[in-house]
Amino acid sequence: MANLTTYSMKNYPAFSPQMKMADLIHVNYRNLAVLSRLGISLGFGEKTVDEVCKRHNVDVNLLLLICNVLLDTDMIPAEEQIAKCPVEQVIRYLQQSHQYYLNVALPNIQILLDRLVEACNETHGKALNRFFNEYRKEVESHLAHEDQTVFPYIMQLLNAPKKSKFSIRQYKDRHANIEVKLTDLKNIIIKYIPYDNTDNLRDELLIQLFNFEDDLNRHTLIEEKLLVPSVILIEQNISLS
């Protein structure tokens, strides 16, 4: 989905620094996750987006850019917007997302899945469990690769710019596809686990899987539309100097 080379007609800013921070969430509740991942906690009263950002040392342009990309998935940020992005804050945002996936989303899914496995016949449960473990490991190793290789490379680039064999373009190429198994899992649960009175449980699990998928897709958008282009700009500057 992120490969679509489309551009949006919506050039107006959907969010502005002068609006109330509370309204930012009312307009799109997905922005809740953006705030918490950038280290902004709730309880900001009537303060504006700009005021709250200053108080938490968060770049207001970055916050708005992320919110806009999450709202309009076709949007492609302009180069001057990307050049202004504080890359270390983008990375912090992505790292916090990873923490959320590892410590909250996946464990919550696991709890529901365990309950479903329990309710299934033994063989079906074993198969389901085995498949989910495989998927979970894949997600974890994908995230670990970014945390341990990609992000440190970028931080190194920011702190002591020098030429390196690794380039962000390689990361772009090897951006593993962890979407396939999630779709498979959803289909198995929706279509193929035989009728067994677990409908409510299945619904709950599926909603969490859909939310997780949605969050991962949007996470990928931030990587592809903000992180990768801004690192490419830095790499170009280094090779020019």
Binding site: T6, Y7, N187, K191, Y192
Partner: protein
């Protein structure tokens, strides 16, 4: 929106609110057609097709960049039974236009729109196609072999069919089940008693 089974269902992808509102009001009392959903961009097109089951997708080609020159239908994964109609208000390359079943322009009035839509040749009826989506006996056999780890060549030899046929079966299995990974298909095979747990341990 109210659903009228007799009317053909239209999904509109159009960036301009003015144009899409205008199109909606022209279709509002048009005989035989109804607008079931609109979107200003293509990002959710799959979701919209699945949830609205349109017979026709009316699409403004200017919202796509055509640098890859791929087919619009395959690029956006629009099923063959859904007609693809362009809505244009500027000059668009002929090779792009050739991909559409009909072309509407912003200057068309209601009669012209309906006439153009009526002129679309129906290839298949979407409601007829949904039948027989269960895996065939042969597909189940092939699937059993796949999840036991056999290669396409081994499967072909065992069943006296060509490798090409094996690949076609595998494509159909993936299409029907919506499961792409071999480990996902393994779970499917277990749930449907095509293999036992011992087979994969």
């Amino acid at each position: 929106m109210q659903v009228d089974r007799a009317k053909k269902r239209i999904l509109l992808i159009e960036p301009s609110l003015m144009v899409s509102k205008g199109f909606a009001s022209l279709l509002d009392d048009a005989i035989g057609y109804q607008l079931v959903a609109t979107s200003s961009n293509v990002s959710r097109i799959q979701e919209l097709i699945v949830s609205n089951r349109p017979d026709i997708v009316v699409f403004n080609p200017s919202i796509m960049s055509f640098q890859h020159r791929t087919s619009i239908r395959s690029f956006m994964n629009i099923p063959s039974e859904v007609a693809l109609v362009a809505l244009v208000y500027t000059f668009v390359d002929e090779w792009i236009m050739a991909q559409f079943d009909a072309v509407l322009t912003v200057n068309d009035d209601q009669t012209q729109i309906v006439n153009k839509l009526n002129g679309i040749k129906v290839t298949a009826n979407s409601s007829d196609k949904a039948e027989n989506e269960e895996l065939s006996e042969r597909e189940n056999e092939i699937l059993g072999c796949v999840v036991k780890g056999m290669t396409n060549k081994e499967i072909a030899e065992k069943h006296f069919i060509s490798i090409h046929t094996v690949i076609t079966h595998r494509k159909n299995i993936v299409r029907k089940t919506g499961i792409k990974s071999v480990s996902g298909l393994t779970v499917y095979a277990l749930l449907n008693n095509l293999i036992t747990y011992e087979d994969i341990e």
